[in-house]
């Protein structure tokens, strides 16, 4: 399906972004751990969305064009992922009539 294709495309782009940034964040690798954690907690719907692909593509292109703002793009991605974090499942109590 289209959603599945987007999901795979986004996974590939995210892996490429991680690989690129890892080379420029060697003085504080915890930042990459933080980014991975945000990605893991994001909702599956967002991770397979066009919006995420566009954000990821933009950050990756800019990061690859010059390394001086690596943390800016990591921060941007973390913020977007945080905004789309999967909602915690709430306990639903069904009352019998």
């Amino acid at each position: 399906t289209e959603s599945h294709i987007l999901q795979l495309e986004n996974q590939r782009l995210f892996a490429e972004f991680l690989e690129h940034c890892a080379n420029h964040t060697q003085d504080c690798p915890e930042v990459m751990t933080f980014l991975r954690a945000k990605h893991t907690k994001a909702s599956p719907e967002f991770l397979s969305s066009v919006e995420f692909r566009n954000t990821l593509g933009r950050c990756l292109t800019r990061a690859q064009s010059g390394r001086a703002k690596t943390f800016v793009y990591i921060n941007e991605l973390c913020t977007v992922l945080k905004q789309h974090a999967a909602k915690k499942r709430q306990a639903v109590v069904t009352l019998e009539p």
Binding site: H24, C28, V31, F34, A68, K69, C78
Partner: protein, 32 residues
């Protein structure tokens, strides 16, 4: 004569972003 090597810390915006990320990580670590 020391050689100047441009790195990520030379960019003010990047320096701020780095500080923000590290502050968030520290806050997360402290809270949980």
């Amino acid at each position: 004569v020391p050689t100047l090597i441009a790195d990520d810390d030379d960019d003010p915006e990047n320096r701020i972003a780095k500080k923000m990320l590290l502050a968030q990580i520290k806050a997360n670590y402290s809270s949980g």
